[in-house]
């Protein structure tokens, strides 16, 4: 089990690095999917099979599909890859690099200084997740619901179209007559 945990974590880290460094956006998103799958395996090993399944269904299965969908509609060609290549060169790395190194330092400090991390051997199944979501964390669930609702209303507003009674070809001929 230890070995599988470390392999999955390594895959997750490597895949995430690949996500950042790819020039082609679809390739980057594919690595993101792999990263999510690896994280799902980590969750599974840590005794949270329900969260692992949701990670795959929601993140890898729905959200990334939607992002790829949007990118496909943009129809990015070689120029976009070139643009990425220009953005990625040289100085752009310095700012995020420094910040990440600071975070990495903190992470290592925490890992070294704290005692062995407590991983409960108890399996957290769907029942436990549901009880905690609708018990102590109910306010978070409600707020998420509100946020999603406003998102849906906004999307509906953006996508709203005036209802056409006349067929579009007839409409054109009318304009042409005037």
């Amino acid at each position: 089990m230890q070995a599988t945990f470390y392999i999955a974590s390594a895959v997750a880290v490597l895949a995430t690095i690949m996500v950042i460094t790819r020039y082609n956006m679809i390739h980057a998103l594919l690595y993101l999917v792999i990263s999510f799958l690896a994280v799902a395996i980590v969750f599974f090993i840590l005794g949270a099979p329900f969260v692992a399944a949701l990670e795959v269904i929601v993140y890898a299965g729905a959200i990334v599909v939607l992002i790829i969908f949007a990118i496909m509609m943009l129809n990015l060609k070689e120029e976009a890859v070139e643009q990425e290549r220009i953005w990625f060169s040289g100085n752009t790395w310095i700012g995020p690099g420094v910040l990440s190194v600071i975070l990495l330092g903190e992470l290592i400090y925490i890992l070294v200084s704290s005692a062995s991390p407590e991983v409960s051997s108890r399996v957290i199944d769907a029942r436990d997740v549901g009880l905690s979501l609708y018990g102590p964390y109910i306010i978070g669930v409600e707020l998420c619901g509100l946020l999603l609702m406003s998102g849906i209303v906004g999307a509906y507003h953006l996508g709203r179209q005036k209802k056409k009674v006349v067929h579009r070809f007839l409409e054109q001929t009318d304009e042409w007559k005037q």
Partner: protein, 325 residues
């Protein structure tokens, strides 16, 4: 212990071999049945009942030129057809064919199936995108939208079954149907799952991603040889998977009168649904793309939510009554 391991390996190999033998056989079955319903013979020359047509088809696919268009994104183009077969084959891992005959009895079996079917959407999207072809891209976009929407109802329609059996494990769900098959109390869930299942496998009448009269061959326009074969086999495996799931979730899986062994009951029920899939293909026309979306979001989604709510209320009411006594 040694014996257990050996048994487990035998089951795994047996399930895999069975699937890979039956899936191409379905090509023959489908063509014969379509012919029967359309008043013609169908393939009946090669071998007994024309069975050898499967072999001929497979050989033909193997010997065709395996062509990758120069304008395609090569790596993604090659990965895409593999994804569909891998995800569908992985889904079979959680299906109990008989008591004890199951590759892995995960306690999140149903969620695993949903996860794998949502990963299957990638094969269409990536195949269409990597082909770098208008028709393929259009097919992929339609496919992505269709699969994402119908996944929602698919997952929700199964929650009624989960509520009634109290488990995500398919083994436990089948065992919970000893008294009554779930198709009776969950009839609405069954109908919605079947429709969503057809849409998920993008079979006719919901084969809008590959609508051949509009889009050449949709997302796999550029595919040839065994790569096309992968999509083809993946589709038939998908048909089998949905049939197996319907059998397990709503029709009592291996349960049945004792004069036949459980596996036989399972296979009979599974083939009944495969026949239904083919009959639907023979009899229904393809809806327009916007009609499909409207049907999903405006009819199926509210119905699924009502089904879920009524089931939950009913169970809660019963639970309180039994506590009161």
């Amino acid at each position: 212990m040694q014996n257990d391991t050996l048994n487990h390996i035998l089951i795994t190999v047996g399930v895999l071999a069975g699937l890979l033998i039956v899936a191409p056989g379905l090509i023959w079955l489908e063509r014969r049945l379509l012919a029967l319903w359309q008043d013609r013979y169908g393939p009946n020359r090669a071998g007994p009942f024309g069975l050898m047509v499967v072999l001929a088809d497979t050989l033909k696919l193997f010997f065709k030129e395996d062509w990758i268009p120069p304008f395609a994104d090569k790596k993604v183009f090659v990965i895409a057809p593999a994804i569909v077969v891998i995800t569908v084959l992985l889904s079979f891992v959680v299906i109990p064919f008989a008591p004890g005959v199951i590759v892995a009895d995960l306690n999140i079996g149903l969620l695993f199936f949903l996860a794998m079917s949502s990963m299957g959407a990638y094969s269409i999207i990536l195949g269409g995108w990597a082909s770098n072809n208008k028709y393929a891209l259009l097919g992929a976009m339609r496919g992505a939208a269709q699969l994402i929407s119908y996944e929602v109802f698919m997952g929700l329609s199964l929650m009624g079954v989960v509520l009634m059996s109290g488990s995500f494990s398919l083994h436990k769900i089948v065992e919970a149907q000893q008294g009554m098959w779930f198709v009776v109390p969950q009839f609405l869930g069954f109908v919605i799952f079947l429709i969503a299942g057809i849409a998920e496998t993008h079979r006719l009448p919901f084969d809008i991603p590959e609508a051949e009269s509009e889009l050449v061959a949709g997302f796999h326009s550029e595919y040839s040889g065994m790569k096309f074969g992968m999509f083809f086999v993946g589709e038939y495996l998908g048909v089998m998977l949905i049939s197996c799931m319907v059998t397990c979730l709503f029709f009592g899986g291996w349960l049945g009168p004792g004069f036949l062994p459980p596996v036989v009951w399972f296979i009979i029920k599974m083939f009944a649904f495969i026949f239904l899939f083919i009959l639907l293909r023979a009899s229904l026309p393809r809806p327009r793309y916007d009609q499909l979306m409207e049907f999903g979001w405006k009819i199926l989604l509210p119905l699924t939510l009502v089904n879920l709510m009524v089931t939950a209320t009913w169970l809660l009411y019963h639970e309180q009554n039994s506590v009161g006594h």
